[in-house]
């Protein structure tokens, strides 16, 4: 499990950011609009089991705020607030079950998108929450959750993470 500000983590976050900007447009169309960088927050919560998930979310939010066409600060606020709640709920559920991971990742992504649409008009942005933009957020959440297993697999490969060994009581 790496440290938050290690070079490996920062490099991987920038790598995902570049993939989102340059490679994902090749596959994005219509209903399929995944954003890979957001998936690092659920990964930290489910796989690394960090209490520092919110701190990682701050780094991810700042990275996106520095590059994406938003008033500065919107992504940071949305990702950090949602990650904080994700971190709380993840401690109360079975983290290794994929159904739980899918559901919670989907809710995380949907919440981030909705929060951005609520905050952006307050900070002088151009977009606001309407049925059209809600549909775009929904598509983004569904398609990003869909690619979650692939991203988790690649991330585990990069960081050489192994599934924690479970210990069972064999003798009562």
């Amino acid at each position: 499990m790496p440290r938050l500000f290690s070079g490996r983590v920062i490099f991987y976050l920038i790598f995902l950011l570049v993939v989102d900007f340059c490679l994902m447009p090749l596959v994005r169309s219509g209903i399929f609009f995944p954003v890979l960088l957001y998936l690092m927050v659920p990964y930290a919560a489910f796989v690394w089991r960090w209490e520092k998930t919110t701190a990682l979310a701050l780094v991810i939010g700042l990275l996106r705020d520095l590059t994406v066409n938003h008033p500065f600060g919107i992504e940071t606020i949305a990702v950090v607030v949602t990650a904080h709640f994700l971190d709380i709920f993840v401690h109360k559920v079975e983290r290794d079950a994929w159904a739980v991971r899918f559901m919670m990742s989907f809710l995380f992504l949907l919440s981030v998108g909705m929060l951005i649409l609520v905050i952006e008009p307050m900070m002088g942005g151009r977009v606001f929450l309407s049925w059209g933009t809600f549909l775009e957020v929904f598509k983004m959440a569904v398609s990003t959750t869909f690619v979650m297993p692939v991203v988790f697999f690649c991330t585990a490969l990069f960081f050489r993470d192994r599934a924690p060994i479970r210990q069972y009581e064999l003798f009562g």
Binding site: L26, L66, H70, V127, G132
Partner: protein, 270 residues
């Protein structure tokens, strides 16, 4: 417990800082500098993506060309005779211009740029270009490709810039139809299609007409193609016609573009 308090205070400090630094132009300058720093990574990523995309296209094109080589030879012969005819027309045009003493309208200065990234936001259609201030790009420049309108520059950094495409919900261009000369506003709606609003009910526009920029407002030069009308209906308010427009350009396939220094030319000539 102490860690949690420090953590909460730190978060509170960051959030307050974010609200305090909100002022016009701050976001633009910070985006410009960050994208300039990330430019080598974006250029590498885009080169890889373009390589993959080109390979697919070239394979398909090879097979198509192989099967269509007979047709191509006939087409080449026709085009060669057309070129000869057009050269004669051009010479006649020059002679007639000289007779009428017409001044040639100067073409706007153009800066070529490459697209190195697209914003990963589902409701925004913006692209990142590999040139900024140092490359001659300025805010407000029109972005075109092969005489077709693509969008406008909205942010400029030292060596990168951001352009908003016509299909973005915040994009507008004053337009005119090629035949009936009906004026309206072309707007993006986040989908690959465009809409032309505020057409007069008695304007007699028809499906199939080409839509061009009208030059009104000074944002875009006059006469740049936007697209073709594919459907017509009444506006919800019932006072105007609304046309659905198929853009002349496939926005998902853009790689190299031209940025026109039209706005600055107009200012210097007045």
């Amino acid at each position: 417990m102490r860690f949690k308090r420090t953590y909460v205070l730190f978060l509170f400090g960051i959030l307050s800082f974010i609200f305090l630094i909100q002022r016009p132009g701050f976001g633009e300058s910070i985006h410009g500098w960050t994208l300039t720093v990330l430019k080598p990574a974006l250029v590498t990523g885009t080169a890889f993506a373009n390589g993959v995309s080109h390979l697919k296209v070239e394979m398909a094109r090879f097979w198509q060309t192989f099967h269509a080589r007979g047709e191509m030879e006939d087409k080449l012969a026709r085009l060669e005779s057309e070129v000869i005819r057009l050269r004669e027309v051009e010479k006649e045009n020059e002679r007639l211009q000289g007779l009428l003493d017409l001044k040639e309208t100067q073409s706007p200065k153009a800066v070529a740029a490459r697209i190195i990234g697209r914003d990963p936001l589902p409701w925004q259609k913006t692209v990142i270009l590999d040139k900024g201030h140092h490359g001659g790009i300025q805010k407000g420049m029109a972005i075109v490709l092969h005489q077709d309108l693509i969008g406008r520059i909205v942010e400029v950094g030292p060596s990168t810039s951001r352009g908003i495409l016509l299909t973005d919900v915040d994009s507008r261009a004053s337009a005119i139809t090629s035949e009936k000369r009906a004026q309206g506003i072309v707007a993006g709606d986040g989908t690959p299609m465009l809409e032309m609003k505020y057409l007069e009910l008695d304007s007699e526009v028809s499906v199939g007409e080409t839509v061009l920029t009208s030059g009104v407002g000074g944002l875009f030069p006059k006469g740049i193609r936007i697209g073709k009308i594919v459907a017509l209906e009444r506006d919800p308010d019932g006072l105007h016609l609304l046309a659905e427009i198929e853009p002349a350009i496939k926005f998902s396939k853009l790689e190299e573009v031209l940025c026109l220094d039209y706005f600055q030319e107009e200012l210097s000539s007045t």
